[in-house]
């Protein structure tokens, strides 16, 4: 797992970590203070499910941002992967956004990364299959259809 793709992001103050999720929900690159553990995997699945909802209903999604008082998660969503950044300050967001755009563009052009993503290709809407949903999710999801 190469993480130099994400170094520019994690070098910024207040960025706690960054990771890339494949369409299968696996963390294919991780940098910063985040640890690859069950919680991160669960977080990835939740983010992938959020993106899948858009995909399922033919709404393109490019950015998803979650703000808490002292925490921000910024997800840049591509067709084949999601770049997630966890940050503890809003002050750096303008700089972070620029850095994310640069990193995102580099990732799209990187052949090694492309190969990695291709090997992890999958249909993200599978995360909305009945066996992947909790009771509450199933209840809400069935009403959308």
């Amino acid at each position: 797992m190469k993480n130099e793709w994400l170094d520019d992001i994690t070098q910024l103050d207040a960025v706690q970590g960054a990771f890339i999720i494949s369409n299968r929900g696996s963390v294919i690159s991780l940098a910063g203070n985040l640890k690859k553990n069950q919680r991160l995997e669960d977080l990835s699945v939740r983010i992938m499910k959020s993106a899948a909802v858009f995909h399922k209903f033919s709404h393109s999604l490019s950015e998803l941002e979650l703000f808490w008082q002292k925490q921000v998660i910024i997800c840049k969503v591509s067709q084949n992967f999601i770049l997630v950044t966890v940050c503890s300050s809003r002050q750096i967001l303008p700089l972070l956004r620029i850095t994310l755009n640069v990193t995102y563009a580099r990732l799209l052009e990187d052949k090694k990364f492309y190969k990695l993503v291709r090997d992890e290709a999958g249909d993200r809407t599978l995360f909305l299959n009945r066996d992947k949903l909790e009771a509450k999710e199933t209840e809400i999801y069935s009403k959308i259809n």
Binding site: I47, E63, W68, Q71, I140, K143
Partner: protein, 213 residues
């Protein structure tokens, strides 16, 4: 040359007052969500109004409840009919009284909230939904996404918060091939706000927080 603007910046009572005090003969057109309303002035009096299906005074009263929309004032255009006999100041007073009375109506309970939200630069429209997928109140019609779609997204983001040992996010925004949208918890409800696509979440958040307070 027509005067054009947004009701967010200049409210209808001010527009009526301005045209009447200037003794204008003019046509005021209001467009909100593809719906049009018209107010005609002759020599400084409001003489005719249309806001489908209302005509006359009722049309003005309905339009006074709008807090967003584009307007255009064209001078020299005469009314096709006279449907309003009240003087402009009586008409405005009666309209404002009706607005106050209307606040007891549950469907209009959130008018002030919408008014506060819609004066924030970058906010286009807003609506409040409950857990049962009912739109409790809406500043305008919006069929971009199903209400359950927002609820499912809200559920996922709540779970993300739990994983990080945090509460429900204060605001969640998403953008793509559409305008930007924001989801905010408001009491037991969810407020869905449509934003201009270039709006930065961190810039608008303090204003939204204040409006929801």
């Amino acid at each position: 040359m027509a005067l054009v603007g947004d009701l967010k910046d200049l409210k209808l009572p001010s527009l009526i007052q301005l045209n009447c005090m200037e003794k204008n003969t003019a046509k005021l057109t209001i467009e909100t969500d593809g719906r049009y309303g018209f107010v005609y002035f002759e020599n400084g009096q409001v003489v005719h109004a249309e806001y489908d299906p209302q005509i006359g005074e009722e049309a003005v009263y309905r339009m006074l409840q709008l807090y967003s929309g584009k307007f255009k004032v064209e001078s020299g255009i005469r009314a096709p009919a006279q449907t309003i006999k009240l003087s402009w100041n009586s008409l405005l007073l009666e309209g404002l009284h009706k607005m106050d009375d209307g606040e007891a109506d549950p469907s209009r309970r959130y008018d002030h909230l919408f008014e506060r939200l819609l004066t924030i630069k970058g906010v286009i429209k807003a609506k409040i939904i409950n857990e049962a997928d009912e739109i409790i109140a809406s500043s305008s019609q919006d069929k971009s996404f199903s209400e359950y779609f927002y609820l499912l997204l809200n559920y996922e983001t709540q779970k993300i918060g739990e994983l990080l040992q945090l509460e429900t996010p204060e605001i969640v925004t998403f953008s793509g091939g559409f305008n930007k949208f924001a989801l905010c918890a408001f009491n037991k409800f969810l407020v869905v706000i449509e934003l201009e696509s270039k709006t930065k979440t961190e810039v608008i958040l303090p204003f939204i927080r204040q409006a929801l307070r």
